[in-house]
């Protein structure tokens, strides 16, 4: 049975930031107050926060745990591109996105996105777009280990089932 291991260097924490944008990868549990503080601004009337959590099943099959791996330097670059584009498009005061790597126990946060803007409409929209863009583009991969023993690499594209790994 092939097992996929994640190299230690890939799970090391890393981040990038520029004018009002912060993106990071971490192998530690995600912290909601700290990402909220990253976008807090006296000019903002709204902070919208999205927390993606790991689900315990796929197609009714019980999932034991999830594991994320990343091409860290490229994933950070893509996340920063997304953040900067949305900040400009929606006139955000701040945007922060953090993805967790390594094993993420079921029910815990795997991604946090926080955006702040003067008014709530822009923040709602930007938060949703940020997540969709991340799921489509960021070079992070999720592997689901099923209770039954096998595991699959998931693909976000067209809800693909991913490739079975025995």
């Amino acid at each position: 049975m092939a097992t996929t291991t994640i190299d230690a260097p890939q799970t090391q924490d890393s981040s990038l930031s520029q004018e009002g944008c912060y993106v990071a990868l971490t192998s530690s549990p995600l912290n909601i107050p700290s990402i909220t503080d990253r976008v807090r601004s006296p000019q903002a009337g709204a902070i919208v926060l999205f927390a993606g959590t790991t689900r315990d099943s796929f197609d009714n099959k019980p999932v034991k745990e999830l594991q994320y791996t990343a091409y860290a330097p490229l994933a950070l670059r893509t996340m920063l591109d997304i953040a900067a584009a949305l900040k400009a498009k929606h006139g955000l005061k701040g945007i922060a996105m953090v993805h967790r790597l390594g094993v993420v126990p079921v029910g815990e946060e795997s991604i946090l996105i926080a955006v702040s803007s003067p008014h709530r409409q822009a923040a709602w929209r930007a938060g949703e777009e940020a997540l969709e863009e991340c799921k489509a583009r960021v070079e992070v991969w999720k592997r689901e280990e099923f209770e039954a023993g096998e595991g699959v690499w998931r693909a976000n594209r067209d809800g693909a089932r991913g490739e079975r790994v025995d």
């Binding site: 190299d7 490229l74 991604i111 999720k142 592997r143």
Partner: protein, 97 residues
């Protein structure tokens, strides 16, 4: 992330299903290598990888996405060649979130 490749080689990184197929995360391959030969080179080493993995994957060289041309369809002077010390990566469909 990976250690430097030995002289005359480039590193290739295998993510997700590419890593499962090759049973490794990284290896060094001889450089220079024309980009259009990359998939043939990998298919030779890992039979079936083209259909299972490469056909649905993207490729980066030094963190920039590149188009992998068909073997025959490269005009002279347009050839992209993977150089010694480059970092190439196989990027299967992503699944963040």
């Amino acid at each position: 992330m990976a250690s430097k490749p030995p002289p005359g080689h480039f590193n290739i990184l295998y993510f997700a299903s590419a890593g499962s197929y090759t049973s490794k995360n990284v290896e060094a391959l001889p450089a220079p290598l024309p980009l259009r030969k990359l998939f043939d080179t990998l298919e030779e080493r890992y039979q079936g990888i083209r259909g299972s993995v490469l056909d649905h994957s993207l490729v980066t060289i030094n963190l920039t996405y590149v188009d992998v041309p068909d073997d025959e369809a490269v005009e002279e002077g347009q050839e992209v060649v993977i150089q010694e010390g480059d970092e190439v990566a196989i990027i299967p469909p992503v699944s963040s979130g």
